[in-house]
């Protein structure tokens, strides 16, 4: 088991390196000048050149990459061109907000979707299966940023029941409704897609397991249906977990649109700002960290899976 973990960790290193290279290349392929963010719109070209030199952006790319990598390796992501603050700090803060949003969304999505998918998977082909599938398809088919706007209008503007955007403040306090209410709409919006995807995965995993022979054995041994289901769910869980992990990773980096709509100061928001302002250090750092989180999430899910399913542990 330990060697399995170690092997997976080692395998992640080249991926991480590749990811860093892609991040770097991606950002430098971009036309336009990062230095622009620094400047008022009226700044002239001479000022631009001078600043470029001051920020070391005039050196050859490979050198910039290597020095960037060397600094990133020790946790120094540089400073934001736009705000002058250390990128690591910006990422940490916005990541915290996004982790909050993404994990609550995924957990809620998981609890709802797992139940939905299990009910549907047990009775594949029935009308209840059709309904669940319908809801799931709706979840993945809705452009969620649009849903977010609609929800804001209904619940914040018309009913004035919930805040429209933002989050309460510096320290999130999960015990206070003052703070929690800010989560409601973005979480609901964000969980639509995971609900759809997790419900579908659960449904197919459960229905597949329910068709396996060992289910017959369990029934043949007189196990009540809920115990049979417990066995089935233990078997169905690994693929569902995998999808859940992917969804968490996707939400970590993919809530750009929703965070924009809700002015949620998370990593997606940070990223879209960085893209619009060409804030290279922030862009690189954020993309890198998000991709690495994605890799790490998958790794953790793998390890979870292998504890759930002994057949996965090899070597």
């Amino acid at each position: 088991m330990f060697s399995y973990i170690l092997r997976r960790l080692l395998a992640a290193i080249p991926i991480a390196l590749g990811v860093s290279m892609v991040c770097f290349a991606l950002v430098y392929l971009a036309p336009g000048d990062p230095i622009q963010t620094l400047l008022p719109p009226d700044a002239d070209a001479e000022t631009v050149d001078r600043l470029k030199r001051l920020y070391g952006l005039d050196r050859p790319l490979p050198i910039q990459y290597l020095s960037w990598l060397a600094r990133v390796a020790v946790g120094d992501f540089g400073r934001s061109i736009a705000t002058g603050r250390p990128v690591a700090e910006e990422i940490r803060r916005s990541l915290g907000n996004t982790v909050l949003l993404a994990s609550v969304s995924v957990l809620i999505a998981f609890s709802i979707a797992f139940v939905m998918g299990t009910i549907a998977g047990r009775r594949a082909g029935s009308w209840i299966d059709r309904i669940v599938t319908g809801i799931a398809v709706l979840g993945v088919s809705l452009p969620n940023y649009w849903l977010g706007i609609v929800l804001v209008i209904i619940f914040a503007v018309e009913l004035m029941a919930l805040p429209a955007s933002g989050m309460a403040g510096e320290r999130f306090d999960p015990t206070s409704w003052e703070h929690l209410q800010f989560l409601v709409l973005p979480v609901f919006t964000l969980s639509m897609i995971p609900v759809g995807i997790i419900a579908r995965t659960t449904r197919s995993a459960v229905s597949e397991v329910m068709n396996q022979e060992f289910i017959v054995t369990l029934r043949a041994n007189g196990l009540p249906e809920w115990r049979v289901l417990r066995h089935a769910l233990k078997n169905a869980l690994p693929p569902v977990l995998a999808v859940m992990g992917l969804q968490f990773g996707t939400l970590m980096g993919g809530s750009i649109l929703v965070e924009t709509v809700f002015a949620w100061p998370g990593s997606g928001y940070l990223l879209s700002k960085a893209i619009l302002t060409r804030d290279i250090p922030v862009l690189q750092g954020t993309i890198l960290v998000l991709a690495l989180i994605f890799v790490a999430t998958n790794l953790i899910v793998d390890l979870f899976q292998s504890t759930l399913d002994p057949r996965i542990r090899r070597g």
């Binding site: 060992f214 054995t217 043949a220 041994n221 007189g222 002994p310």
Partner: protein, 328 residues
């Protein structure tokens, strides 16, 4: 005289799907005494497994239509409610399968799977269930039983897995064991070990066994009585010796003749021509008629009724005389 343990009366099973309607079992009747071992022989798809599952009501309820009567240990299986059904399953009747790999939950240790069933039926703790599982492993002669209890199914070899499966099936000392081709997936040297083990356990525990196989040799090794199925019907039953020596039904005879066992090499094997029928579209009359060497026009018209030429022997063939003098 003791009451029969199993009484099956005109059992039929239909699978109804959108595209087709399969009559997998078509009017099967038989009875079994306690302590009897009956082999069900027949080609693939002849309905052996479906019959076994029908006995425990394990067929998908939505898609299958079961008619006819099933009584096990005096209880009407068809009329059982869920609770009664669960109490019967595993305790009165239990089952072992061809592929022990797929018959175990792959993510739970085998010892725990057995313990769960024991704990459920005996109302004891899980720990006590594990102790019972250990005894059972010794019973089925699994070496280093203690260690094997903690193994996952995929960590056991084929033979050990099948023994574990048997241990699971015997965990609550059932009155009837349904064994669906339990040795087909095993190697020759292992198969004989398992067969002998099963026979011994059956005698020790005095249970009845229905043993499904399509291997005549296996039947000869273990059965008291044989029922031969063809296309969803039992075409012949009888004591194992008589049936193997003097088969009544042409299908049984053909099966015996085409089984390769030390026939002369310079001559072709005797065969049954053609292939088993499509269960979706059974021919009217005797299902075996299209392949039968003794076929006549009457065979195609009606399903032959069972005839009993000798005590204990029944065949469904128009060519079998009602009573044969030699056996009378």
């Amino acid at each position: 005289m003791t009451a029969p343990l199993v009484e099956v009366e005109n059992l039929s099973v239909n699978f109804v799907t959108r595209e087709s309607n399969v009559t997998a079992v078509n009017g099967v009747s038989f009875t079994m005494m306690p302590g009897e071992v009956m082999c069900m022989l027949g080609e693939s798809g002849s309905g052996k497994s479906v019959t076994m599952r029908a006995l425990m009501r394990l067929l998908p309820e939505k898609r299958s239509v079961i008619t006819g009567g099933i009584r096990i240990a005096g209880q009407d299986v068809q009329a059982m409610n869920d609770r009664a059904l669960r109490q019967m399953r595993g305790a009165t009747v239990s089952m072992i399968f061809q592929e022990p790999m797929t018959a175990f939950d792959p993510v739970v240790r085998v010892g725990d799977q057995i313990a769960e069933v024991v704990a459920l039926h005996r109302g004891v703790s899980h720990k006590a269930g594990r102790r019972r599982a250990l005894d059972l492993f010794d019973l089925v002669r699994i070496p280093s039983a203690e260690r094997r209890l903690d193994a996952y199914p995929h960590e056991l070899s084929g033979g050990l897995r099948q023994r574990a499966m048997i241990a699971l099936a015997l965990s609550c000392e059932p009155k009837l064991l349904l064994a669906d081709e339990p040795t087909t997936a095993l190697d020759a040297t292992v198969q004989i070990q398992v067969l002998i083990l099963l026979r011994k356990l059956q005698q020790e525990m005095g249970m009845s066994v229905i043993f499904v196989t399509h291997d005549l040799g296996v039947a000869a090794e273990i059965a008291d009585r044989v029922a031969v199925m063809y296309a969803g019907r039992i075409v012949e039953t009888g004591p194992v010796r008589d049936l193997l020596r003097t088969p009544l039904h042409p299908y049984t005879a053909g099966l015996l003749a085409s089984t390769v066992h030390d026939q002369p090499r310079d001559r072709d094997l005797e065969t049954i021509p053609g292939a088993p029928p499509d269960m979706r579209r059974l021919p009217p009359g005797c299902s075996f008629a299209p392949r039968c060497p003794k076929v006549g026009g009457d065979c195609l018209l009606t399903v032959p009724p069972p005839v009993s030429p000798a005590p204990g022997r029944v065949a469904r063939c128009l060519r079998v005389p009602a009573a044969q003098p030699e056996f009378a």
